[in-house]
């Protein structure tokens, strides 16, 4: 079987569901003839026709809003925002409507929508093309926020997201769209939502990350292993609802934790994870939960983006400090 990239896994999942479920429609800017600016929808319009794979006019509020209307009438819209930096005009419909329709109508109407968007920095893109604001969406009641970080998880989680009866924000880490290949059988098997994936077992420290930052996090884990520190690496994958149990189980073993994300630190999801660890695992903690994150600055233009993005060294530094805690300066 051929190995495919995360990007191709997205395409494969979309094609699978378009084939399997006549209620599925895919739309967004340039997703049709052009196959998407990243080619995530390559070939889909040709295979499934321009009635099911549609180029929209340039209007994100509209993209978010029509998905709501479509979903209430039984379709399964999969809407693409070209970049996460352009999703905000759609927020009103996502927050005030998609996330609430089921609740507001007491189950009469619902919004099984997938809103896809590539996110994150590191590809030398222009301004507004490198955002990581998953925390904004994860704060919204009624939503799911899902981030795949491997081809297999992209395929399995996207299938699950499309089949899920509720709205899902599906954020694709574009820096690793083509980074690694994997065999991903097109067997229509979804992976579970609302579950962490333990990517590496370890007993000394728990490293939590998602999306592209998992690359640096896993690299750091390898490096730590060489230093005799066995890190457990957890990919929450579904950021909301968060499977904190898997995290706490890990803390039972390790008592130490570092969370890594690209997004700005203040109010990022690292805070929520640290807070829940504090609540559920206070007595297990041997050191403060550390956050390795983007700075609380605007994502810089690309010349400085690598200075902004957390790197392996930063993860290592935080992990070592956590291992050493309380260290020499302790009172």
């Amino acid at each position: 079987m051929a190995q495919i990239t995360l990007l191709e896994a997205v395409t494969q999942a979309l094609a699978h569901e378009l084939g399997a479920d006549p209620r599925v429609v895919v739309f967004g800017q340039d997703v049709g003839v052009n196959g998407g600016v990243f080619r995530a929808t390559e070939g889909l319009q040709k295979t499934f026709g321009p009635e099911r794979v549609l180029d929209t006019p340039l209007a994100e509020t509209m993209i978010a809003g029509i998905a709501v209307g479509m979903a209430t009438q039984g379709l399964r819209p999969v809407a693409e925002f070209q970049f996460m930096g352009f999703i905000y005009p759609g927020l009103d419909h996502i927050l005030n409507h998609a996330a609430r329709y089921r609740n507001r109508t007491r189950g009469r109407l619902s919004c099984p929508i997938v809103y896809r968007a590539p996110f994150g920095g590191g590809i030398h893109a222009p301004e507004h093309h490198s955002e990581s604001t998953e925390a904004i969406f994860a704060h919204i009641p009624g939503l799911r926020v899902v981030v795949p970080s491997s081809p297999a998880r992209a395929y399995g989680l996207l299938l699950a997201a499309i089949r899920d009866p509720d709205p899902v924000i599906f954020l694709e880490p574009k820096r690793i769209y083509r980074a690694a290949k994997q065999e991903v059988p097109d067997n229509g098997e979804a992976l579970p939502l609302d579950r962490c994936f333990v990517l590496r077992e370890g007993t000394d420290i728990t490293l939590i990350s998602w999306g592209a930052s998992l690359k640096e996090t896993l690299e750091a884990a390898e490096q730590l292993a060489e230093e005799g520190i066995e890190a457990e690496v957890i990919d929450p994958a579904t950021l909301k609802p968060l499977d904190i149990h898997t995290v706490i189980d890990s803390l039972e073993k390790t008592g130490r934790c570092v969370v890594v994300h690209e997004a700005a630190r203040f109010g990022g999801l690292g805070a929520e994870i640290a807070a829940q660890i504090g609540e559920y695992a206070f007595d297990l903690l041997k050191a403060p939960v550390q956050r390795v994150t983007g700075y609380d600055t605007v994502m810089p233009y690309y010349q400085l983006e690598n200075n902004y993005l957390p790197d392996t060294e930063q993860v290592l530094t935080a992990a070592r400090a956590t291992m050493d805690y309380p260290g020499e300066g302790a009172k």
């Binding site: 009635e51 809003g65 029509i66 009438q73 007491r106």
Partner: protein, 363 residues
């Protein structure tokens, strides 16, 4: 400086439709649907809408209802629109909608429940596929565009019968980007959608003249390349005629229409508002002369179709209907607090079970 010579690229006309003038006189031959039975049904439904609004406002005044938006003076728009839909069409209302909701079979106690702070009101017993009342201005127009897409899609891809999405909004709503994006999309995708704008001249305290420099709202359709027209929104026959024609064209695959129905908000914006702070008294007095119920009543009386006696009988009947609905509303048991989690997701994710239990335990 000499004036450049330009060549004409395109011309557009915007027209106005009316059947009954202020005095209730026919200004042209009435359309075929305007049989005595239909007109009497309009009269009844507009009267009922007015009664519902009136009682709802009173309920609010006595603390039995939250903020309520009356449609006083605009009943012809709701009833004219609502009566033009087939049952299987999908209605996408905004919030000032008693007349249309009643036409769709939404129960009075459901309307009251919504404004009484109870989501169960939106779980319409009938009109199960209609969208719920929508508070964020103009957003329902995009939902309606999505609904129209779904109806077209289901017709073409899944062999279902032709259906139409009809949405309503206020004049203020036409200033919002959602209006433009929705109108543009239904135009370019030629969707089976009809947008009806209740131009009641005010968006809370902001007059129509401060919303837009456009002479009419109907002409905003030109931007989307679709037909737009203005109807006398105090003339239920004109509203019904225009909406029904537009629905028929949409159903036949001939695309969408924007309809501006001109009227006047003869009430406060909601019970939380005091319109006397900004509506000129003289303007309100003039507007009362054009209101839709008296107008249709005059026509019916002139035609010998209506009398004081019939009016008395109708009012008694409607009062009973209302009484029953009020009872149903006030006897409704309060929803259980955990309901806020029960319909949050199809199945409550494990992550929230602890909160659910906490909430359940607090009761």
């Amino acid at each position: 400086m000499h004036k450049p010579r330009m060549h004409l690229l395109a011309s557009f006309d915007i027209a106005h439709l009316q059947y009954l003038d202020e005095a209730g006189r026919a200004t042209q031959e009435l359309p075929d649907f305007a049989t005595p039975d239909t007109l009497l049904a309009f009269y009844r439904q507009m009267s009922l809408a007015r009664l519902v609004d009136d009682r709802a406002v009173k309920l609010q005044r006595t603390g039995q209802l939250g903020t309520y938006p009356s449609s006083l003076g605009q009943e012809a728009i709701g009833v004219g629109t609502g009566s033009a839909l087939e049952k299987s069409d999908v209605y996408c209302p905004y919030y000032r909608e008693s007349g249309a909701l009643l036409e769709r079979g939404v129960k009075i106690e459901e309307i009251l429940a919504i404004w009484g702070g109870d989501e169960r009101g939106q779980d319409f017993r009938h009109a199960r596929e209609d969208l719920p009342l929508c508070v964020p201005i103009a957003t329902q127009l995009l939902h309606a565009a999505g609904v129209a897409f779904a109806l077209k899609y289901k017709r073409e891809q899944l062999d279902e019968p032709p259906r139409v999405a009809v949405a309503s909004a206020g004049d203020g709503a036409t200033s919002k980007g959602d209006f433009h994006e929705a109108l543009n999309l239904i135009g370019v995708w030629k969707l089976p959608a009809v947008f009806v704008i209740n131009n009641n001249q005010w968006a809370i305290s902001v007059p129509r003249s401060a919303q837009s420099a456009s002479k009419t709202i109907a002409q905003k359709a030109i931007a989307a390349g679709i037909p737009g027209l203005q109807v006398d929104g105090n003339d239920v026959i004109a509203v019904r005629s225009a909406v029904a024609d537009a629905i028929e064209r949409a159903r036949n695959g001939e695309g969408p229409t924007l309809i501006e129905a001109t009227s006047y908000r003869l009430c406060d914006h909601t019970t939380a508002d005091d319109a006397s702070r900004y509506q000129p008294e003289e303007e309100v007095r003039e507007a009362w002369k054009r209101e839709p119920l008296i107008r249709l009543g005059r026509y019916l009386r002139n035609e010998g179709l209506w009398s004081d006696e019939q009016e008395g009988e109708l009012q008694r009947e409607l009062a009973e209907v209302m009484e029953k609905a009020l009872r149903a509303y006030s006897e409704r048991a309060k929803d259980k607090p955990t309901a806020m989690f029960d319909h949050l997701y199809a199945r409550l994710p494990e992550a929230f079970l602890e909160q659910y239990d906490q909430l359940a335990g607090e009761q």
